[in-house]
Each structure stands twice: as structure tokens, then as C-alpha cells.
Amino acid sequence: MLQQFERTIDALEAKLAAPQGNTPRRRYALEFARLGKRLYDGRHPVAWCGVVAPFDLLNAMGFTSCFVEFVGASLASSGVVDTFLDRAEQDGLVPDMCAYHRAVAGAAALGMMPVPQVLVATSCPCFAGQATMENLARLMERELIFLHVPLEQTPEAVRYLVDQLESMITQITALTGRRLDPDKLARTIERSNRAVAVIEEVFELAAHIPSPSASRELKDFGIAMPLLFGRPEAIELAQVFRDAFAGRIRSGGGNGVTKERVRLLWIQNRIQFREPLVKMLEQELGAVVVVDELNHVTWDPIDPQNPLEGIARRMISNPFNGPIESRISKLQALARRYRVDGAINPCNWGCRQGAGARGLMQTGLAEIGVPVLNLEVDCVDPRSFAEGQLRTRLEAFVEMLEAKSSPWS
């Protein structure tokens, strides 16, 4: 993995230095390859976490922290995930479990995950993640810290999570000797807030008609950016996107890839391995993914003097947390803000979050005139990818959207 990240960094630095090579997506890929390198080079204390862990807080304690699903996504995007999925199956994991976690389990079993100083599981977005973390803790002989994210934003629920965050900090100090300096945390949180403010600007620009964002430009952005929160790179990277998008709008609009005919909302996960369909949608049919469900700032700026409460609120506000009505109203808000014509739910194989409530999400979006195409895709395992069948569904969906009047006209 380390060599893979180093090779990627070298290749991206060379491309970024070339004339016209400085694209936002390359900068993004570079920052995350650098994060991968920090995780794997053995020189940084590592915290493997659940998706909604407080990465800025962990950064302030000196950890390079990351959610484990990042490993599954990285293995899939670099085209080598099969070996790890096979290993997970040999070890007894059922093949219809979410492949993000199967890939992580396989990587851990094959010694491809560095042993961390700390493991912090979160109950959100899914209990499959929690089980994966428990397995890692056993395999790596590390204590597991668990954050139970309550389902609603009541004062009691926030207090409950704040208490857990406080004991997490105490536990980490006891386990590693690392202490949390309140001033350092305040400065980290200020940087987090600044990054989020710029990210909001990026989203505001992406909502423009036609969108300056190409379908794959903000792929995974909302879920991955928190890994950099509190670090200056988060602000710089968001600024690169903001400036590029603003420039495109100033020079006549559009994303420079296609003439936008249909605007799409992508629900939950993107497909992580190389596949031709999103490009086909965009370039052949002018159907652009202008927003992803997780490209959504669902929390208020955090008070640097009282950070734990704001962090707790941020964790609870994750769209996958709590009753489905709250997820649906967030999806409706995004559909309205971005004026999308339709939505695609890949219903990632084995994911209860993506597939379990698909009918309810479909009905919720249909209420505001936005049709949803439900697919059945394994977003990490390319071996069951039925390209022809998926192509037909996607093309037919776009034909259907084009024949119908816009929900916003």
C-alpha cells in the first residue's frame, strides 16, 4: 500500500506540474494519497475509525486518523480489491456483506493495514462498520473505543455523546500517553470551521445551472474531506475547487466536459472502481451528477471554546443517522437546492442503509417530482458489475427524464 500511495503521489505531482495539469480533482487525489502515505509509512501515530469519528479532534491529538472504509475504496479504485475480498470470504465473511468491510477484513488479514495506536468505532453510519472494527481490535490486539451516536439532536442526546467524547479522550491518553491541548483543539476547530465555510461556497457554486462541477469532480468529497479537517490542506483544497468553479461560471458556465441536459443527485456511495457508466451518462447523454447525498453540510460552525458539543451535533447530524424521515428531508432539500431532474441510488450490495429504505427514499423524492432510479450495484467489488444491464437502465432513466417536464419549471 505504501508503495502504491508513493507511486500515486509521484505521478500526480508530475501531472500537476505540467501545463494545464493543475485540476482540482488531481489536487484532491494528491491530498488523499498523501493521507494514505501518512497512514502507512509507520512514522505517524494512526487511529483507525468509524465514518463519523471526530477526525479534527484526533488530528489535534497528533493522530493520522481515517475511517477504515477508505481502505476498501482505495483498494477498489486501484483495481486490486479482488485478492482482499477473496481472503475475507476464505475467512468466513459472507459475500453479500458490504464489500467496503469485506475488503478491510481481507486487507487486515493479509497484513495490509498498519496496526494503529487507537481504534475508534462509531455506531453511525452502520453496525457493519462497528463489527469490522471489533474484528480489527481482536486481530490487532488493541482496545476498541466505541462511540454510540444517538439518533436525535435533543440536549440530552448531545450531552450523552459529549460524555462519550470526554471519556474517549481520557481513554486515548491512558492508552497512548497523548494528551489533548485545549488551545490546540480550539485552533484546529477554527481551521475546521474555515474549511467548512469554503466547502459551503463550493457547494453553492456547484448548484449553479449549468453546474460548473463535472460528474466525477466531487465524488466522495463530502465523506472524505472531514479526514483533513483541522489541517490547513482542507482549507487549501476547498479553495482550489471554489476558485476553479467560480472561474468556470465567470467564463460562461458549464463544467467544460459536456453540455448539461439533465441534472442528477447521487444517493449515498459512488462506485469506487473504474467503470465507464458515469462518464457515458455525462459525455454521451449530457446527464451530470451535480450533487451527492453526502456533499451536504448538515451542521453549524463549532464553537472553538466549547468544541465537544459542536462535534457531537455534527456527528448526530449525519444524514444516515436517525429516523428515515430526516434523511428523506435532507435529500429533498438537496434536490431543491440543486434543482435536479432525477436521482440515482446504487443501493450498494449488502448495505442496509442504501437498500433497506430505498422505497421510502424513492417515494419521498417522488413527492417533489424527482424520480429515483434504484440500481443493484456492488460499489467496491467489480466482479459482479453488469455493465450492459446497468447501461440500459441508466440510458432508459435519462430518456424518461428528458421526456418529462422539469420538476422545477
Partner: protein, 271 residues
């Protein structure tokens, strides 16, 4: 001026030629076999010779079906979802929901009176509930696929196949025969299993069928047993066009005509 539609599916390749008034001039259905480019050529040549036309007579050609991008000389490739909706509406104008069971796909499509698709669902990743499933079962029963369509007559309908998977169902059929089960009962069980799979796909997009006249297309529409079983399970009358296997190709020809004559323009771009 004539317009040509080709529907290249996994089991058959169908061609329809229409004239300026959308009247069907000729149609041809040939098995796809292993080489779909050959099947396309043959199906097109058969229809052209039946109509007595040469290439220059064709103003536009639209292809559809899973091999739609392999059709040379096409003006456009349009999905089978849109084409089937257009085709059935031309043949049976009352229809608002079409069930199409083809070789490897089964689909349900809801549309308006103009043929604009409002919703659709398709089988995923698996041949249960498709023509391939029935083909495999006919093989297991050592009967012809045409014969299979009649074999459930007089069945009491008490036998249920427990497996939906084509491979497992095939071995289940073999052991049922070995156990002395009556062929008509096995076939009725198979029909119910296909219908069951398809009806849940239909209900997913149309929970209430009371205002949606239903029709069926695709080769499996020739199978009376499956149609009967579907009618029972959905509790509706299902209309079948005279040639259910050319509906997709007809829709493609109609789209070709419409586009060539500058009708049916797509909605304006969002910008």
C-alpha cells in the same frame, strides 16, 4: 420513405419496417445465436426482401435491445424501455403498463398516452423470470419451448417449485420427474414461478393496477400458461398483440420515423 427498427435481444433479433403513415410494411424475427452481427444482417435482409426495399429506401434506422450499439448504419440507439412503450401503444393504444418478458430481461413499464415512460423496473443480474429460464426448463423436460406453452393444461396447480435460480430449478425439475410428478403439474409450477417473479416487479412500480390497462410483449407472451398465471396473480386482464415479439423493433421504427420527420423533439436542455 421507410423507417426501420431493429431490436437485438439475447434470443432473437427482430426487424420492423414502417412507412410514412406508421403502417407496418414487413417484419422479421431470427434467432440471435452466438454472433449478433450476423443475426442483425440476416434479420434486416429478411425484412427488406419481404418489403421489396433497398437500403436507399430507408430514411432512418433506430436500434434497440442489448446489442443496440452493434447495429451499423443506425441513426440512433434507443433503449428497449422507450421503444417497447412506443411500440405497444401503437398496437394497443389503451395500454398504460407493459410487461415484456424477453430472453434475458424481464421488465415492466408504465407510460402515458404519448408513450412517455413514467416508471420502469427490470430484473437484475439473474435469469429467473425470463425466457432463458423457460428455455432451460424445456430442456430439462425434454420438450420444445412451443410445446411447453401448452403443457400446463388441466393441471390442478398444486405443485410449487422451491427454487428461483435457473440452475437449481433445472435440477429440481429433473428430480420431480424422477419422483413421478406429472409434467403438467411441473409446468404449471414453473409458470407460477415466472409469474411470481414478474408480478413483484410490476407491483414495485404500479401497486394499484385498477386504472392501468396491461399488455404483454416479448416471446414469452406466446406462452399461454405464463400469461394465465400472471393474470391470476395480478388479477387483471392482459392484452397480447398479434406479434408480441416485434413490439420493441416496431417502437424503434416509430422513433426513427418521428426523429426523421422532426417530431418528438427532446425536452430543452436545463441551461
Amino acid at each position: 420513405m421507410y423507417f426501420l427498427g431493429i431490436d437485438i435481444g439475447s434470443l432473437s433479433c427482430d426487424t420492423v419496417i414502417i412507412d410514412q403513415t406508421s403502417g407496418i410494411v414487413a417484419s422479421a424475427v431470427v434467432p440471435t445465436g452466438a454472433r449478433n452481427v450476423k443475426a442483425i444482417e440476416r434479420s434486416k435482409a429478411d425484412a427488406m426482401s419481404l418489403a421489396g426495399l433497398i437500403d436507399e429506401d430507408i430514411a432512418a434506422l433506430v436500434s434497440t435491445g442489448y446489442g443496440r450499439r452493434r447495429v451499423a448504419g443506425r441513426s440512433a440507439a434507443v433503449t428497449e424501455i422507450s421503444c417497447h412503450a412506443r411500440g405497444i401503444l401503437h398496437l394497443l393504444p389503451e395500454t398504460r403498463l407493459l410487461i415484456d418478458i424477453g430472453g434475458q430481461d424481464s421488465k415492466a413499464i408504465v407510460f402515458d398516452g404519448e408513450g412517455n415512460v413514467a416508471n420502469f423496473s427490470m430484473n437484475d443480474k439473474c435469469a429467473a423470470g425470463t425466457g432463458r429460464f423457460l428455455e432451460a426448463m424445456a430442456r430439462a423436460l425434454e420438450v420444445d419451448i412451443i410445446e411447453l406453452a401448452q403443457l400446463d393444461r388441466g393441471a390442478r396447480g398444486e405443485l410449487t417449485l422451491s427454487s428461483m435460480c435457473t440452475v437449481f430449478a433445472e435440477s429440481e425439475v429433473v428430480s420431480l420427474i424422477a419422483d413421478g410428478a406429472e409434467v403438467k403439474e411441473i409446468v404449471a409450477g414453473l409458470n407460477r414461478s415466472v409469474a411470481n417473479r414478474v408480478q413483484s416487479m410490476v407491483k414495485r412500480i404500479a401497486p394499484d393496477l385498477s386504472c392501468l390497462p396491461v399488455a404483454m410483449s416479448g416471446g414469452v407472451a406466446y406462452n399461454e400458461g405464463v400469461v394465465r398465471s400472471l393474470q391470476t396473480q395480478l388479477d387483471v386482464e392482459i392484452a397480447i398483440p398479434e406479434k408480441p415479439d416485434i413490439v420493441g423493433a416496431l417502437g424503434a421504427a416509430l422513433v426513427a420515423r418521428e426523429r426523421a420527420l422532426g417530431q418528438g423533439e427532446k425536452r430543452r436542455p436545463t441551461e
